[in-house]
Symmetry: D3
């Protein structure tokens, strides 16, 4: 079978990293195809990035030529999965919910470790609307941004501390809420004696499961096929978009 | 004070209608300025539309020249409010949450009446993540699409039936979950003896309230100022977007 | 418009302080009229005080000669709002719920800072039954009684510590759960970088909002007009009340 | 042991009826003493009545000369229990929570049948703040007022219908949410095959249980002894109360 | 890999049926081994059966000679999964939770259709403690016992009616809460336009997923290895068990 | 009346201890009869023990010759109560829920103190499915196993620390979640100023209450009389059970 893995940002290296993790998890008959949005944020950290990412990923999905069997949305805590479910006739699995689903099978409560505190609420909302928040003991931030992930000893200490805080809040399993710290997370979790679930791997297995069982998204109710209507996915040519720029919060007066 | 009312779709007539409702609600010193996204769906009905709308509205908000004091996001049940809160230094009020906040002050439980069943779940999620779902007794669809709203007797019957179902579920106040049926909703609610809260009007008053008290979005935690990074809001010029087209759910194999 | 602000206790100076805060928040066309219960506790700290206060405030409201447009009930965490809603034909806003409603618009979670621990549970119940508890991260007591509020450095330290505890529990906005510490609370919150919502100010704006939109309490279900019946609001003259005295908890055997 | 049963209204016949039910439930060594508030509503139906009742009952409890071992508060869904817990050194059991506690032991879900719809929300709030709402499947009103309870066949039909609605909502046990329909309720429930729990009887047994185990209200946190302060329980003599009158909801303008 | 499928009752034909469904779902490299408890109920319908089944299944699992990679517990709504997690070093997946996990990926809410009403509460509790109850819209009984499943038209009508009730309660996906009606359920669901998830199939895929990712139960907290102690799994030989008999509820006096 | 107290394990000394506590709590006319399961674990610590215990206790209850009026199930956090309710015509009270019910009457929140962390989740689930979890502030483990309870100063320090943690989480009442530490718990709680509820005592009083009121388990819905069918409660004689042995978690490959 053929599974598309959609990155949530425009950084091709991250798409490749997700694909590598997806391929490591995939069964023998599964082909993983990575997709990078043509537009959107270079990394998704916060709500603006997340909504921008959702639209860019949906733009990517709405016009694909090649056949595929399932989609894995590889943005932890990012928006868009319900839209992809409406849009596509094949199963859609978001890595956030996927990690939580498997974690629930491994311990009575799970915790999520992520980078920045600004992402915690977004992840909590994503778990809540996916119906898997009940057994989430805590979403804990290491406080490290993506660029700081190079300093290994510092990262290991931060990840271990965050895992220990999740443990203290009741977590028995850890979910990896960001990509860059995979290897160190494994080290830290081993120290804490807790299994670690990676969302990309979990989502690939769940997608394979759904495809294997011939199941796909219900068209009854929430995820009915989108109505036919005029939708424009970019500014009109005569009124060009402002283009990429660094977006700061602004106080207009 | 100056309040921007952002439509969630590209239909200028709907922006104008929202502005009319906003102006009817606004205090004497309040100027209402309507904004229509340059791109996005012509109407927002479902998750794809909602995420597309969120990005298009954020695109609109990120680069405004004129000063303003608050933003009212006029898409009932649509995504994006948390992104606008990150982006802007002024208060942001979404009409979904606004209607619920005022409804909670008028009765022990409220109900939402909307058009299509496909919107109910999205509205429920929006109320849930806004923290005002606890007193929502029901979100009820009339089953009428936007285009069917012209047949007045039929619409009145459908709206009255939906309101009665909300009442039976415990609602003591009704929230108007769509624009086109405002007047008939008032008629139906009067018959049921229940107050009706319109989200646009509610959001304008809440925005005025926050501005009047000098309050704005917290920068601590979830809605910290967006990180400075490369974000592109449209496809690159050398790889043009597919442009507007009717998006059907597709089954690739 | 004319808004009554009802104090929850018999201390006129506190009525005046609430009115001052209400006037500072009110719009240009709003007249604030303060009302002090003729009986009840001199300050409301605990459940006995709260129920006594509720009856005394309702006694005040049931027989007013003057016209007014809305009522603000100025007792943080005190009982009675649902009774006032039954009794009156105009909107009723309680400062507890009001602060929470606005706080929800400013951050993903809010915290309440109050004086004594004995009040925390009462405030939690008030938020819960008002339907706004979901986004309350914590209700934190400073441990300072009303009489101890004079020692400024000590109060500032206690308030800052309580705010920091609310922050640690996830609060991004603070709600001021008592009157005496307003100014210091602002100082502490500024240090913590969090907005502070004052219940009296919030309630005045919400009352103005409802009046401005022509909305009032639903008569369907919970808040139907009280049934006509014999109610006596004080002991019979031949069997006089025990009169004011210091009420200690008593152990009869 | 000696248990006080406090009526929530001023009607002595209802006090006597509650006492009769209490005595039928009490163990051999238990003396039941009925207390009727000196002031308050003649019957408690709605929030105004409930808050008035709470103050009048607390007034009754604060100055008793005789020794007693526990208090049963006999107003279904009425306020005041937390205040009595603060005030007294002996256990306090409210009939609302008592019925729910025992009902939880008899079936997986319970339902409450009461008179008027206006009481349903108040009862729900009372169960919620008592911590026993989780297994409440429904609070159902018969729609019959207290005065209509004389027409037996009509009442039986209404009670059976209400019980059947509770059953349909999942209830396996019924709680009697009002006094006047006790006997018919038993008939209806027998027809439905469901046990019926009467709050007064349940509260007497729970009060006996607590006294028998030497347990009383915790003084730590919420129910600490009331602070010593000036509290007046009735209007000052120079400014007499308006006295009993029929209180209608009023619209002042 | 090798997956054990444990039946919850002693009826070998049912073990075989579960194995057939498991094999139909399993991937090419997966061997399914069915296990039938040596003791327990001949079918599990109710709490007594469920607890008896739990012990008998754990008895089966504690002393296996052969190696295996995961266990699927094939009793819908039956107890025991947490015990198996303690006992074994390999992943354990219960078909109740498994069906719910996959159903959450296919629609916004799911419903469960089962045989007798007596099973509904047990299933609800199982979903609740597994952390997947939030998106369960309803657990609906057809009212048909296992022996009545032969009358096809009647069963089809009952299953369709139950599915429609789940749909009306908000379900967009159906979970098959009993074995005997699989084929008719598919027919009914197709008519309702809803996907159907079978627990055995779902559990096999989830077990394969966990094994494939090298994940197993956390030993931290709830599912620590059982303490070494004396446990007897049957009555002592000198005091023989009463043996199989028809167990009726008994009223001893 | 005659109340059976069923121990959850095979250790007669613990049955006797529970009976002693039961007798101390029982009213004058109540006879306490202790029952020890003929098989099962020697002590119940964890899920395997709990499910094994549930079956052994149900085996005990299904075939009693003597008449009795109620059953108290004396295993804190152990499974089985719903099965006993199905099986018997007399009321069944589990000590876990019993302690919680009474604790709710004594303070706004309660906490549970138990021995090992492995039991906390099981207790939480038991409270949740009994409908009394809402006011549980925390379930705290002392970290001491049953065998370590001899070292009094160490136990007192651990119990006091656990009680203080429960207090800090909001508990105003403590529930004793294990038998061996009763006396020290009282000492610790007195120091913390909190009442302590013992589950056995609470259950006896609740059982006496139900019997006194003539109430017993509902047969409607969940706890209908078990269906008549073949159930075997032990391995067949020709295929003997493995007998008692120390059960370690095993990793078969």
């Amino acid at each position: 079978m053929r599974i598309l893995v959609t990155n949530c940002n425009t950084t091709v290296a991250m798409t490749e990293e997700s694909c590598a993790r997806a391929r490591a998890a995939a069964g023998p008959g599964t082909e993983i195809v990575g997709l990078t949005p043509r537009w959107g944020p270079e990394s998704a950290e916060g709500w603006v990035d997340s909504f921008l990412s959702a639209a860019a990923v949906l733009d990517l999905l709405r016009d694909l030529d090649e056949p595929f069997d399932a989609v894995v949305m590889a943005g932890f805590g990012e928006h868009g999965r319900e839209g992809a479910r409406e849009l596509l006739g094949v199963p859609v699995v978001d890595i956030t919910e996927a990690a939580a689903h498997l974690a629930c099978l491994l311990g009575r409560r799970y915790g999520v470790v992520t980078t920045l505190e600004r992402s915690c609420g977004q992840i909590e909302d994503s778990l809540l609307t996916a119906g898997v928040a009940q057994h989430c003991a805590a979403v804990v931030a290491t406080g490290l941004g993506v660029l700081e992930l190079a300093d290994e000893p510092r990262v290991l200490a931060a990840v271990t501390a965050a895992g220990a805080r999740a443990r203290q809040a009741g977590a028995e399993v850890l979910v990896l809420g960001c990509a860059g710290m995979t290897r160190l997370m494994q080290t830290a979790a081993a120290e804490l004696g807790m299994p670690v679930v990676d969302g990309v791997a979990a989502a690939v297995k769940l997608a394979e499961s759904l495809v294997g069982l011939g199941l796909t998204t219900s068209r009854v109710g929430s995820y009915a096929t989108p109505l036919s209507k005029r939708r424009s996915w970019s500014p009109p040519p005569d009124e060009p978009a402002a283009g990429p720029r660094a977006g700061e919060g602004r106080r207009p007066r």
